[in-house]
Structure formats: structure tokens, C-alpha cells
Subunit: 365 residues, 2 copies
């Protein structure tokens, strides 16, 4: 049973978005298949998604959503303990097009169903159409019997914000103030949407993310809460690192921020890759009208910060880079009580995202 | 979690198909939309399916499966307490293409996933292709976390048999021995499939059904178990009734049958319509290659026997016929402890089936 809730907000109804480190019931993912985004017919990406799903399923049950024409293939490639459910999508980024789940203190689940426009719509979106993606959140809510708030006037993706579960939202101006999303709204109005629908009291604004041309700077590539009062942030001292400027600026900004409870943030550093990850195999990506052609040697947005916290596990991208182990060891220090698991995800950054972008949690109620 | 079970049968694994009058957890339906089968863009059929779903949901939760392009419409037309889930299908007959669920005495659910070929495949099937229908059972099993037996060498539809839950199967020769299904198998081999996969010991064969040109005589239009040792059977004394011959023959045959437990069957009569139901509005049905054109005035297969038993309810077709009330009163005598509810389903017989054909139960475990 799933209703649309009209006329009230989660804050009014006493629902809140829990932090990612709170208990989770299930992780959703979407099976990749677009041959104009994924190289080699999406087969290497399917293998990488499978490995991510397997790693998560050690900690939390996984449901893989798949378009009809890939159902049988996905079912055959995935272990039986991963649930496969048909659901139409335009691409495979459930963090951004899926529902943002909320809970109340009476054990009930609800969700925000933000309007989705493929990261910028007709201004600078990444593909057209995006109708199946925009309907996906409602369908997931049906599966979960979760009533939902549909936001027809507010475009938002799950990867563009993090919450601490205690009243604080972390986001970036580059994304939320971008022209292709909510240019009809002021910054204050956007803050009100975030606070009313995530049930928060304070928005912490970073200026930029590291992928201005793709998601317009989603925060989930640069910083996240790791527990109340503490954040992780990408960091490098190397002035030649393409992410140096943004990483330094965000790190300094976070050091000077206080959360909704008035706590000064403790900021943990997470390294960047020693070398940029560059696209290979672009010649096997289909060229279609409306999709920007990809070229070998283009820099991919490979951040160790795009990990998923899921119950007792932290699932972390690995790039065959000499800093892979450093990232793992830093995260083990940040999460001493969790198992930190690396998964090789170069194929996923080739397509424009990473582990956090391709997962969406359903909290325990 | 849903596995394919290889190398054993339900009988070996101690799973059985429960009778329809045993407790049910959920009813599945498929939203109708084919404009080459349903008149007027399937809108009247959608209304009739909605009314059937509402009637069932008074007794048992309902999930409506819908193709992607009808999800939003179905969600908007159905009450919120009916779950709507995207799932591809070729038409809307989940009795026949859906899984046949099984239970064991340890509270576990499994299913048979029969091969489906649209009621006769390339010999005398009703449409092409039928690939989405044939994959649907596996997808429903995923939703229900039910391991399944896939029968690649045995074509069967759920509407072609009934069980009493105590070792007896009731079916028709017209359907199960038809050329378009299992002509590679002998009658004995077909009996073995039924007994091994439904976990039964005896097959009761009726000769014919009443729709040789559509389902090749599914039993669910002519007779069913109403409790152990008792069946209902369509019956008419009117020699001009188009179903007179089949009804008389089946009634006589049933009177002389014993079930798997050795009980002589008690046979209850269910009336036929006073007048045949004739197709109207055929001019609004799309004409496409591969589908037999429909003509106004064609006789539809309108049987009161095609009802659904679901927990405390019996949902019965009504045709605006003068025998509608007689059918209801007969069924009230047959089911004194259940609520017998009529639903007007002329639009569904226009498309070739009725309430039993468009529903599939998940038993309580």
C-alpha cells in the first residue's frame, strides 16, 4: 500500500531522513545496459556492478532493478541471494533517481520522490529522455509499501546531499544552484525545501564539487558524514592533482563549520588517486544524438569518497592505483567498528559515477 | 532470494499445490492494455479489472502487474491499497502465464514455472510473441522470494487444471492433449508431470471444455473443486444452450468419478447464462497481423464457473443476464461460510476470459 501524501511535509509529519550509518534494511541498485554510456556493450560495467552487489550483500540484502530486456541476463549473472526485479530506467544511477527514504519513531517508512531531470534537463542534462528514471522512485515506493512525497517543483538527486541524521544537510552550491535544476528558486527557498523534506535545521554549503560537467558537483564525490559531528573529505597536498583546488577549499571550509547541534566538525582526510583515471575503450561506446561523444584519455571522476556505508560494512572504490591501499587504511581508521571492503570499480567511473551513485538504502524502521 | 531448483520434483521435495479454498496471502493480476484484444483502447476492460481487484481486496491483498507504459495510468486508476508493480507481459492472464505456487508443511513457498506458449504456440496460439508472458512467472517468484521449478519441456496454463489439495487434479483432454501444447508426450507422461509437479496421485479427466478455439477447453470455465470431495460444474437442461452438450457430459462424468482419497464426488450444479453473451464494439479493436479479427455478434465464453475463491470471499462473474442472481444464489448454497460477491465482467469475456483467468493466488505458508 503506497499513497502520495499531499499538503504536508516530512518535517510536519515527524519523518526524517536517517544518516547512511544508521541501520539499513535493503540496498537498491539498477543494472547498467546503455551502450551509449557504458563501453563494450556494458558487459564490463555489469561485472563491476555484480561485484559491488556481492560485496554489499555480505552486510545488507540487495535488490537489482533491471529493464525488461535485461532481466534474464541479470538474473543469470547475479547470485541467487540478490533479488532481481523488473523496473524500467534510462540508466543505472539509483542514488540520483531513486527515492530518498524517511522514517519516523513509530517504525514507519516514507520517502521523498524528488523530480529528476538527468542532472540538468535541457540546460546541461546528460541524456534525453529521462522519463523512466523519473518514475522509478514511485515504483520502488510501491515495492516497499512506502507512502511518498512527490516534489513536482523541486529537482534534486540523492547524490547531491548528505545528512547526519541529527538535523544537518551537507551539499554544494555548484549543484544545487545550477541553472539546469531549480533556477526558479532562491538559495533560501532551496534551503527550505531541504530542511522541510529531509527534516533538518541547518544546511552546510560547500562551494564546488569535482565534476562540473557531469553531476555539476555532487557532494558525494567530495565529502560525507561518517558519524554525528564528523565528516570525511577528499584531500591532497599535490598542487598538480586535478582535484587539488576543490579538495583544499572544501577541507578548509568544513574545518570552520558547525552542525545543526552546534558541534564544530571533525574532518577526516581521504586521499585522492595518485594518478588520474583516464577513459579507455571509448571506441566501443555507441555514438548517438543527444549524448556527448566520449574520447579516450578523458579524465574520469575517480574519488575514494564515493563509498557506501551499509550496516557493518563500508564498500570502497578501488582503481588499480598506488593509493588504493592508503584509501582503505584511512577509511579503516575512520570506521574502526566496520569492515572496509574495496571493490575495483574503474568500469563504473568510466560511465560517470561510483559505488555511492549506484546504490540507494532503505533504512530499518 | 529465489533459486531455480534442478533435478528434483515438488513431490520428491514434499511440496504440494494447495487448493484455492485454502488460505491465501495475496492475489496477483495483470493490467489489460492490448488494443488488438480489448475494445475501446482497453479502457472498459481496465475498469472491469479495477472492479475485480477492489472486490478481491476486501478479502485478500492484491498486486496489479503492469507494463511500463501503463504504470502511471494503472496507479492512478486503482485504489492505494492495491499494490502496482511494473512487470512486462504480452496480455493480462496471470492464471495462465503466472506461477503455480506450492507450499510445504514447514511454512516454505515454492512455485512451478510452466512453459507458456499463448494457448497453442504456432499451431493455434492466440498471439505472437509471448516471451514476456513466459518470463513473468520467474519475475513473480523473485518478488515472492520463492524458489521455482522451471518446466522447459512441459507446456501448461494454470486455468487448465484444478486441484483439491488432497492429491487430485481435475483437467480436460481437449486442452492437455491438444496438438499445440505437449504433442511430444503421451497421456501417461502428461499425468506424470501433473502428479509429480502438483504433488498429486490421481488425475480426473473431463473430455471437453466450452472454448475449443481459445484456450482449447480450460477446465476453469466448466468445473472446479469447492471443498475436498465436492465439485461445482456448469449445468443446463436447455438443449439450445450452446454449452448444453459439454455441460451434460461433464456433469455425468463427474458423478461417476472418485478422487485420490477414494471419495465419490458430490457434484453441485452452476447455471449457465439464459442468453449467450455476444461481442459488441468489435470495430474499436485494432486489427493486426497474427491476431484473428473479431466480429460483432461472436459468442463470448461467459461462464459463471470462472469465479475465484479467495479466503472468505467468492468473486463471481455477472453478465447483466437474467440468470445472474440464480448463479449467485447457487454459489451461496455451495459456499455457506463465504461471502459471494458478483462483479460485472462482460468486458473481460469480450477479451476471452474471466475472473479466474485474470487472477493467481499466493497461498499462505
Amino acid at each position: 500500500m503506497a499513497n502520495r501524501i499531499i499538503g504536508t511535509t516530512p518535517k510536519q509529519d515527524m519523518y526524517r531522513m536517517p544518516a547512511e550509518y544508521e541501520p539499513q534494511r535493503r540496498i537498491y541498485m539498477i543494472w547498467p545496459q546503455r551502450t551509449d554510456n557504458w563501453r563494450a556493450g556494458a558487459k564490463p560495467a555489469q561485472e563491476a556492478y555484480t561485484n559491488v552487489a556481492k560485496a554489499i550483500s555480505e552486510f545488507t540484502p540487495v535488490t537489482m532493478l533491471t529493464n525488461s530486456n535485461q532481466f534474464v541476463n541479470a538474473r543469470n549473472r547475479l547470485p541467487a541471494d540478490i533479488k532481481v526485479v523488473e523496473m524500467s530506467s534510462n540508466d543505472a544511477w539509483v542514488r540520483d533517481c531513486g527515492p530518498t527514504f524517511l522514517i519516523n519513531d513509530k517504525g514507519k517508512l516514507r520517502a521523498c520522490d524528488w523530480k529528476f531531470n538527468a542532472w540538468g534537463g535541457l540546460v546541461d542534462g546528460l541524456y534525453f529522455p529521462w522519463d523512466a528514471d523519473d518514475t522509478l522512485a514511485e515504483k520502488v515506493c510501491e515495492l516497499e509499501d512506502a507512502d511518498s512525497y512527490r516534489l513536482d517543483n523541486f529537482i534534486l538527486e540523492g547524490g547531491s546531499f548528505h545528512v547526519d541524521g541529527q538535523g544537518t544537510v551537507l551539499t554544494t552550491e555548484m549543484c544545487l544552484l545550477s541553472e539546469g535544476r531549480n533556477s526558479h528558486l532562491s538559495k533560501e527557498e532551496i534551503e527550505n525545501y531541504l530542511c522541510n523534506y529531509l527534516n533538518c535545521d541547518k544546511v552546510l554549503w560547500l562551494k564546488d564539487g569535482i565534476d562540473p560537467n557531469e553531476t555539476n558537483g555532487h557532494v558525494d564525490d567530495v565529502a560525507c558524514f561518517v558519524r554525528p559531528g564528523e565528516v570525511a573529505c577528499i584531500y591532497t597536498d599535490d598542487e598538480n592533482d586535478p582535484f587539488y583546488g576543490v579538495a583544499q577549499a572544501n577541507y578548509e571550509a568544513l574545518l570552520n563549520m558547525r552542525d545543526a547541534k552546534g558541534r564544530k566538525l571533525k574532518v577526516h582526510k581521504v586521499c585522492t588517486t595518485a594518478k588520474p583515471v583516464l577513459l579507455k575503450g571509448a571506441e566501443t561506446i555507441d555514438i548517438v544524438e543527444g549524448t556527448i561523444p566520449r574520447r579516450n584519455g578523458e579524465m574520469c571522476i575517480a574519488s575514494y569518497l564515493n563509498f557506501l556505508i551499509t550496516n557493518g560494512g563500508v564498500i570502497v572504490p578501488q582503481y588499480d592505483d598506488e593509493n588504493d591501499e592508503l584509501a582503505i587504511s584511512q577509511l579503516r581508521e575512520i570506521f574502526p567498528d566496520k569492515k572496509v571492503v574495496g571493490v575495483r570499480t574503474k568500469e563504473i567511473v568510466y560511465g560517470g559515477g561510483n559505488i555511492h551513485c549506484i546504490t540507494q538504502q532503505v533504512p530499518e524502521t
